[in-house]
């Protein structure tokens, strides 16, 4: 009999090959020996998740789900919603105590209605212990007080996506590591007619990612450690001035972009630098495989980079966390927890992440050893996402208030106001301050 530890090692070494072949057999063994919570008799589950970005991720996920059903006899129905719609659905379901058993959303979703989230401390504690500990940010997202209210499943690294040839043409060999240099790069890109652009519409993913990076990198913060609103500060003003300068160097129209626009524009060679997960690269490779020559060229010519570091002096990235939560109204809490545990076991977790082609990054330490991270150097920047990201709320608590501020796009709106010239930086800050004070009252 192989021990758990050695099984983990061997899977890590062999990659999907082994896990894929024996998934169901392994799952049955797992259900017999490892499962912490035995699903209720006759349990069925509904899981509402964000709609996949990468087809192969969904394929692996469904394989995992099927194996779970096979091993435990619990059918799991997977519902898909676009990224922006998971939260309203979950909110309404929490309000009416009715709906899917599990929601898989983003950022601080569980904290919007923490008291409606199933306590999953046992499963999360177990997984964390077994796999070398959670990333600090994952712990922040998953816990409310001492209690785990959601499984911080994975992160979507939000990175600078750029065309190598374009930045070379603009006179740079790589993405500058500091904010000033980054601005110069954007200006130079505009100068050669190959501008950048980032989403400034109400885009939960990309829009929040870059605006928070911008704010934090300049030392600005919505609230301090004690949740006092401190948005109205010289640092924020500097961030707004910087954002405006970036915005002016970008392609026009970014104010209306949602999460999809930059992908499309990048693939159409309208923008040459943007922020995104690695899904553009994945799409380019997929199209290239279908014989699209232009897509092949883009895939070859693009790369990913970390965000530049600003006056704040340390990385201030904002990657998307995807927490999976169970609802207290579920009739089958044990089945929910069993599923969470099953999903996070390395035998499932690794192939699934591999299917996501680095679109998703692990949230516990053992993930650093997953073999697929060595597959493609262009994807390496996504690996440490969980360890580089700050959390929603910045310095403040990750709770209902931070979730509200994010859902209300307080920071994004402030930056959009300043960028578009609708308000002076001072006015934009005041508006955000007023909003934040209400949220954090």
């Amino acid at each position: 009999m192989i021990s758990r530890r050695s099984l983990l090692k061997s899977t890590a070494a062999l990659g999907t090959a082994m896990a894929g072949v024996n998934l169901v057999g392994w799952a049955k063994a797992w259900a017999a020996t490892e499962m912490l919570n035995t699903p209720e008799d006759g349990a069925t589950l509904q899981l509402l998740r964000w709609k996949r970005f990468v087809q192969s991720e969904e394929d692996s996920f469904l394989k995992l789900v099927a194996a779970f059903t096979e091993a435990t006899g619990v059918p799991v129905e997977v519902l898909n919603e676009s990224l922006d719609d998971v939260q309203p659905k979950a909110s309404v379901a929490a309000n009416v105590d009715q709906g899917p058993d599990m929601f898989w959303g983003l950022y601080s979703l569980p904290h919007l209605f923490a008291e409606k989230c199933l306590d999953v401390s046992d499963v999360c504690g177990h997984i964390g212990q077994k796999y070398g500990g959670w990333a600090p940010s994952a712990e922040t997202y998953g816990k409310s007080g001492d209690k785990w209210i959601a499984m911080p499943v994975a992160y979507n690294a939000n990175l600078i996506n750029y065309r190598i040839s374009a930045i070379e043409e603009a006179g740079f060999s790589e993405i500058p590591g500091d904010t000033e240099g980054f601005l110069e790069l954007n200006k130079a890109l505009k100068g050669i007619g190959k501008p950048g652009g980032m989403a400034l519409g109400f885009a939960s993913g990309d829009g929040n990612a870059w605006t928070h990076w911008c704010l934090w990198s300049h030392g600005g913060n919505l609230v301090d450690e004690n949740d006092n609103v401190v948005i109205n500060s010289p640092e924020t003003e500097a961030a707004l001035t910087y954002a405006k300068a970036l915005y002016d160097a970008w392609i026009p129209g970014t104010a209306s972009w949602n999460d999809a626009f930059n992908n499309k524009a990048f693939l159409a060679e309208e923008v040459f630098l943007t922020n995104n997960g690695v899904s553009i690269y994945a799409a380019a490779k997929r199209n290239a495989a279908e014989g699209d020559a232009k897509a092949a060229e883009i895939a070859e010519d693009m790369d990913h980079a970390f965000w530049p570091i600003g006056p704040a002096g340390s990385p201030t990235e904002f990657h998307i966390c995807y927490p999976l939560l169970g609802m207290t109204y579920t009739k089958y809490p044990s089945a929910v927890k069993a599923f969470m545990q099953f999903m996070m076991e390395a035998e499932n977790y690794q192939p699934w992440l591999e299917g996501a082609v680095a679109y998703l990054s692990h949230s516990y330490a053992a993930g650093d050893d997953f073999a697929f991270w060595g597959n493609d150097p262009k994807l390496a920047a996504a690996k440490p996402a969980a360890y580089r990201t700050l959390t929603a709320g910045g310095k403040g608590s990750v709770g209902e208030k931070a979730a509200s501020a994010l859902a209300d796009f307080v920071v994004l709106s402030m930056i959009a106001n300043a960028c578009s010239g609708r308000a002076t930086p001072a006015d934009a800050m005041k508006v955000a301050e007023r909003q934040a004070q209400r949220i954090y009252r």
């Binding site: 309000n95 209605f113 008291e115 519409g201 104010a255 499309k264 509200s404 209300d408 959009a416």
Partner: protein, 343 residues
């Protein structure tokens, strides 16, 4: 039943003797016939309307019941000086002034947007709709087909046509931009951010609204035009009236009641529009197309502040009443159809 044994009435007015005898039983009968409609309207309209007003005085959030907070939501939204905020916002938006707003700037912006959207779209819809109705009222071949075709934008679900507009207004792959480039109005490498620049985004969503609204107005006015007796025009032609004179002195006066009704509908539905904006911009860029309806959805369902969202919805009611009153007293010269002694 009591209906048995009627005398044959000598006139058709219901005040005649036979009908009068039913009076005692009539109220009950009316009640039973009214019951299904009344049940729906009370359970799913009147009750929620009242509940909405109540919610707006609470701090209810998604997931938990709220406590009574009085006017707090309204104070937060409208500030301490609503009138000054209202006009201040209008001045800020129209003339680029920078008056300080004491309330929620986004709320006031949404009020401004809603008014702008409603007024501009309604006026243009009315003008184009009337013009189209006059065109369609003329004698021409394929009349039935043309009318059916004109109605299509109205019958196709708004969301679905909004999606088409979304793609048409796309920043990078807009067919509109392509056509403008083709005829040389726009430089070949220039992309127009139809939904990305504030003024343009407002114009774009207003255009989509007009596009959708014109057929309804045109067809309704056309229906009205057809009730104008042809003999009036013939008499006018004999008197040597010009087309414009005929329109001004015959068509327009006779059409006024219908115009009042159709424009009331149009204004109300434009004012409370949600779907078009939600699909096209979700209120962006920079909130410049947020209407009160979309803002209340954003705050209530997305942000979780049900009480505040309800307050925004409730704040629409005075505007709606004003619009109804305006059409009632300003344009209305006849009685509504619910039978106030007009038969």
């Amino acid at each position: 039943m009591a209906e048995i044994g009627l005398d044959r009435p000598v006139e058709r007015r219901e005040t005649s003797g036979a009908w009068a005898r039913l009076q005692t039983n009539r109220n009950w009968l009316g009640f039973w016939f009214m019951l299904p409609a009344a049940a729906f309207l009370v359970l799913f309209l009147a009750y929620p309307l009242g509940l909405g007003v109540y919610l707006s005085f609470t701090d209810t959030r998604i997931g938990r019941d709220g406590a009574w907070v009085g006017l707090e939501n309204y104070e937060w939204l409208m500030g301490m000086a609503p009138i000054a905020d209202f006009f201040g916002t209008i001045a800020n938006e129209l003339f680029g002034t920078r008056f300080a707003i004491s309330g929620d700037t986004v709320f006031w912006l949404s009020v401004f947007n809603t008014l702008l959207y409603t007024i501009v779209a309604s006026v243009i819809k009315f003008a184009v709709g009337l013009y189209l109705a006059l065109l369609l009222n003329r004698h021409m071949p394929f009349k039935a087909i043309i009318r059916a075709v004109v109605l299509i934008p109205f019958i196709v679900p708004t969301v679905l046509s909004a999606i088409a507009f979304w793609w048409i207004f796309d920043t990078q792959f807009s067919i509109l931009t392509w056509m403008l480039q083709g005829i040389g109005l726009v430089a070949a490498d220039h992309q127009i951010a139809w939904l990305g620049e504030e003024t343009l985004a407002r114009a774009s969503v207003i255009f989509a609204n007009i596009w959708r609204g014109v057929p309804f107005i045109a067809i309704t006015l056309l229906a009205g035009l057809q009730t104008v007796p042809g003999s009036l025009y013939e008499a006018a032609v004999i008197d040597g009236a010009t087309r414009w004179q005929m329109f001004k002195h015959i068509t327009y006066p006779l059409l006024t009641p219908i115009i009042a009704v159709v424009m009331t509908f149009s204004v109300l539905f434009t004012f409370t529009d949600f779907q078009l904006i939600w699909v096209l911009t979700r209120g962006g860029p920079v909130n410049s197309t947020h209407l009160m309806a979309t803002l209340s959805y954003q705050r209530a369902i997305l942000g979780g502040y049900l009480g505040e969202g309800a307050a925004i919805s409730t704040a629409m009611i005075p505007f709606l009443l004003a619009a109804i009153m305006f059409s009632w007293f300003g344009l209305q010269r006849r009685k509504w159809q619910h039978g106030e002694g007009n038969d």
